[in-house]
Symmetry: C2
Subunit: 437 residues, 2 copies
């Protein structure tokens, strides 16, 4: 462990802003070669449909089927996966699913209207999307919890058809993932992945239906494909590496804090775990806990790499300054491991999810507290929100003018349209004026 | 006018789906040269800041200042523009602004929370974005109504700082635009445009503040720059050409319908205006109105080009089929020029804004009905919504576990985390279990 080190910063130092920028720096690699290959794959799927999908799945996933119908998994197969789950896993998934559903219900947007005295009605009509695609990665990054987190808000929104795609390299399926798909009530599942799966969902093939939005995490090919099909379909955020920021007042067991940092760092070497505290002795104690606990971790190498490359322990003057640091970072996950998390939470503007108090470990939120674990990363919490039911609903403005209302509005519109030189607009409005004055 | 023709389709014909696809086809040009030039501009602004901004503004806008502070317009200058407006224009802008504000107030999202029996609290904290940038085009496409539509929802959301950028080619300012900026309460205005203005807002320079989201329309350089800085900042939709779909039951004056179609077609040659009706004689009558009225229009050439290239008159079996066509097209603007627009609106799932009844011309909504005129184009109403207050707010999930709540959740999280092989997650959760059972 002698080679382990973690960045220490002081918010009061002259170079702090620059040093913090360096710790946070994350430049998404723009790989022109990958971009070109993904464009080719999308073009092939658009032109050749199922035939290309079958061929690319054979090529990239080493999974061979006689025709595209062989790519679909039946509801019966999902049910078998569910029935073969150990009972503690099934029980835990059901508990998590139920809490995710209950929280999501609160997010549902409702239509509204109001009438004006002249009889004109204005409103907003909310409808669910028609069809949604959920991308689920294959192999070791396949998480049943992610299936629930991505699919259940769509279900609660009332999306009539949810289509899941999941690659099955070498033909191998992941029973936990299929069981979660069964529990989430996913309508159709296709054994496809990569850019070809994203293209199939975006444009449709003879077998795979075209959807209106694609959500879910994936590798660089999937992320690139999602960016390229955006506009043709909606997409969720393109996620960067996962991050946690812990603000501790010094009163939490240093081992707890260390393990909370580990729980983020174990995701991958690019994950970021940062602790902020006004208490220097506490920062030292957590660093000691890290050194003592690290060798006991199953994913010690990943954690070590993540913490030494991108981790940091930051000393601040007080909790007010800690809140400022948090707002500057806009972390995906923010733990307020302090005596009075309510007052601190009120000072937080930018964060994907806020875990309040010493007992609220981020891991509880990752699995089963209820709120979604798909959260804005890389500082995008400055302007975006957790995945939610609202991502699977859309709004249409409603305008229903009474003849009297139209008369009044038309007079205003006519002046403005003529001011902008748009005379067809003006004349269209003027037809609705009851009588010229 | 002998050379004018407009596409006629019948929804019942065998080739209808294909023919409709051909009418709707719109491939956004992906220009590699523009992409490269925009990337260079962004890099220069990031590296050289103000110096590059001054130089590029001199180069592209032929507007020269000694240093970057000369790029800013003072609140005093905006006020002068407001005071010099003709009173009918000022009055119309104020009426429009007030209605936009009243509608926007209804969209405001509020924070919420709920408690569980064991004392655990879950919620969603809603906060405004810190800083927003509004891009306003220069020259002939500069619309004061767009300034109000883009800025007022941000104002209602409570955004503390709204920064507007508007190019002033040759140093010429647009008094209507500046007056609208004054009315909307914009905090700072810079006389910059193009990719350099987008880059300055996204990354900040010594003079221009870095914002959290950039909204507003622009040319291909602006649109490309917005796509490239997305992730660094939020952006609104990248808009395609404007569209209207009118569903008429045959009972509306054909001249009114023709003028409503013109009001869309006059925007530019790529704009799309489509009429759907079950009444063949009515379609003929509207076509006659188009031929008769077209020569009287100031923007006749643009309208003629738009209608012959991208317009269509579509005959359907009944209004039910008309609704299906509308849901397939997912138009930006949808007029329901029918006797019973309520029952038809209930069958519409995909549309940016719905204008109900014979009196509700789209032009009324463009200027002053209240709902936003920034709407999803090119079929993206399938998955996205009008610009609204919600675009300038964001949500953070709140989780505050009581010790008892944490104990229960930790048991579930532990099972799921171990199932996924994430043992640091599991151990972090297990620290919160009160006593092992």
């Amino acid at each position: 462990m002698s080679d382990f080190s973690i960045t220490r910063l002081e918010a009061g130092s002259a170079d702090f802003a620059q040093d913090l920028d360096a710790v946070l720096a994350w430049d998404e690699a723009e790989d022109a070669a990958i971009h070109g290959r993904v464009m080719d794959i999308i073009q092939r799927i658009r032109k050749e449909g199922d035939a290309a999908l079958v061929e690319l799945t054979r090529l990239y996933d080493r999974f061979e089927v006689a025709n595209a119908s062989g790519l679909e998994l039946s509801r019966e197969e999902l049910k078998r996966a569910w029935n073969s789950l150990p009972s503690d896993s099934a029980d835990a998934l059901m508990k998590a699913g139920e809490r995710i559903r209950l929280y999501a219900e609160r997010q549902k947007m409702e239509s509204w209207r109001y009438s004006e005295t002249d009889g004109t009605v204005l409103g907003q009509q909310v409808t669910p999307l028609d069809k949604v695609g959920v991308y689920v990665p294959g192999g070791k990054a396949a998480y049943p919890s992610s299936v629930l987190m991505n699919a259940m808000p769509a279900k609660v929104a009332g999306v009539p058809e949810i289509v899941m795609v999941v690659p099955t390299p070498g033909g191998e399926t992941n029973p936990l993932v299929l069981a979660a798909a069964y529990l989430a009530g996913i309508d159709r599942v296709f054994r496809i992945g990569g850019a070809q799966a994203v293209a199939a969902l975006a444009y449709g093939t003879e077998t795979v239906p075209r959807v209106d939005k694609i959500v879910g995490p994936g590798n660089i090919y999937v992320a690139t494909a999602k960016k390229l099909v955006f506009g043709q379909v909606g997409i969720d955020m393109v996620a960067g590496p996962s991050e946690i920021l812990v603000i501790s007042d010094g009163g939490t067991d240093p081992d707890w804090i260390a393990m909370d940092l580990f729980s983020q760092a174990e995701h991958d070497e690019d994950a970021q775990a940062i602790l902020v505290s006004p208490d220097r002795a506490h920062l030292d104690a957590v660093e000691s806990s890290i050194r003592r606990l690290l060798p006991t971790m199953e994913r010690a190498e990943v954690i070590r790499a993540s913490l030494s490359r991108r981790g940091a322990l930051i000393q601040v003057r007080d909790l007010e300054e800690a809140a400022q640091v948090a707002n500057r970072i806009a972390p995906e996950h923010l733990e307020l491991s302090v005596e009075d998390p309510e007052s601190l939470a009120g000072r937080i503007r930018n964060a994907g999810a806020v875990f309040m108090g010493r007992y609220t470990a981020e891991a509880l939120g990752d699995y089963c507290a209820g709120p979604n674990h798909v959260l804005p990363t890389s500082g995008t919490a400055r302007f975006s929100s957790p995945l939610g039911v609202y991502d699977f609903q859309k709004r249409s403005s409603l305008i229903f003018c009474s003849p009297q209302g139209a008369d009044q509005l038309a007079r205003t519109a006519s002046v403005l349209a003529r001011g902008e030189g748009l005379t067809a607009h003006a004349r269209s409005a003027e037809y609705r004026i009851a009588e010229r004055t």
